[in-house]
Symmetry: C2
Subunit: 149 residues, 2 copies
DNA sequence: GTAATAATGAGAATCATTCTTATTATAGGA
DNA sequence: TCCTATAATAAGAATGATTCTCATTATTAC
């Protein structure tokens, strides 16, 4: 998991940003770096805390650009703040386990077998509805060990 | 699906609201009725459009109460507005297919077999993470037929 | 280098949602 | 049936995450 290294990410980022006529600037590189180190989805406040050089408005703007470029995914939960993480072709396909009390989000993987069976079912369903699928997401909502105590 | 009738819902609503010391008022009954007729998750604006008697602030407040009572579920997507629908013990367990361009949300059902396999996998994963599961949600994101044309 | 264009950052603006408060409705006891 | 205590309502104000504006700074192409 996440065997892709920094050099490869930079190359990917440059090429995907270029394809939408955007540059891979210093700020964008910083944000990608912070997301890569985070190993789990984080909020904009957490990004700002890890690098005080970044302006809030720039982080909002750049995350939107990085999302358009397909490099970053925005995760919406019932929390006040959105969470962000690197796109699945950089990490790998996975799902989220969310602690409702504290808002923490962690990644998990389904077994290849279940994942495949699920994808086949979903494709059939999309066909029935006349939808073209972009992606699916599966969240597990509950309470983490720390919040139970 | 959704074989429960209005009388049963009213009874359920009364009992679940009472258990958190809340009343099943006229406004709350109206909101439940609108959600039942909608057959798919709708926004607060859509609720206000179906009944001009309701004050916006009351709808917000009452949906929060109905959600606490476990009668209503709030659905968050990337859209600006949250969507609401009746809880799964009133409808039945299902998932959502979401059109990203227009924001429409429809319900779908997984085959019992896949659903069961999935739930078993998720239980194992929750155990590994030391989480207690509340529920899971599965969304299919894509583009509906109308938005493709 | 220089001009043209894009990105930045500070703060203002937006807008869904939540909060406040005076008014109205409801339930339970006398 | 009337009181009284308490809950719900509705109108608008307040909040706060996110988006927008625009003057300044950086980058690219020639």
């Amino acid at each position: 998991m996440n065997t892709i290294n920094r050099m490869d990410i930079d190359q990917l980022a440059t090429s995907q940003l270029n394809s939408i006529n955007q540059r891979y600037t210093t700020n964008r590189r910083k944000i990608i770096g912070i997301l890569q180190e985070a190993t789990k989805p984080i909020t904009i406040n957490q990004i700002l805390e890890s690098n005080s050089d970044l302006a809030q408005s720039s982080v909002y703007r750049n995350l939107a650009v990085l999302e358009q470029a397909g490099l970053v995914v925005r995760i919406i939960t019932n929390e006040d703040h959105a969470h962000y993480e690197l796109a699945e072709h950089i990490l790998d396909h996975h799902h989220h386990i969310i602690c409702s009390p504290c808002g923490e989000i962690l990644d998990f993987h389904l077994s290849a077998k279940i994942e495949k069976a699920l994808e086949e079912s979903l494709q059939k369903i999309a066909d029935e509805f006349g939808f073209s699928i972009d992606r699916h997401r599966l969240d597990l909502l509950g309470t983490c060990g720390d919040c139970t105590e």
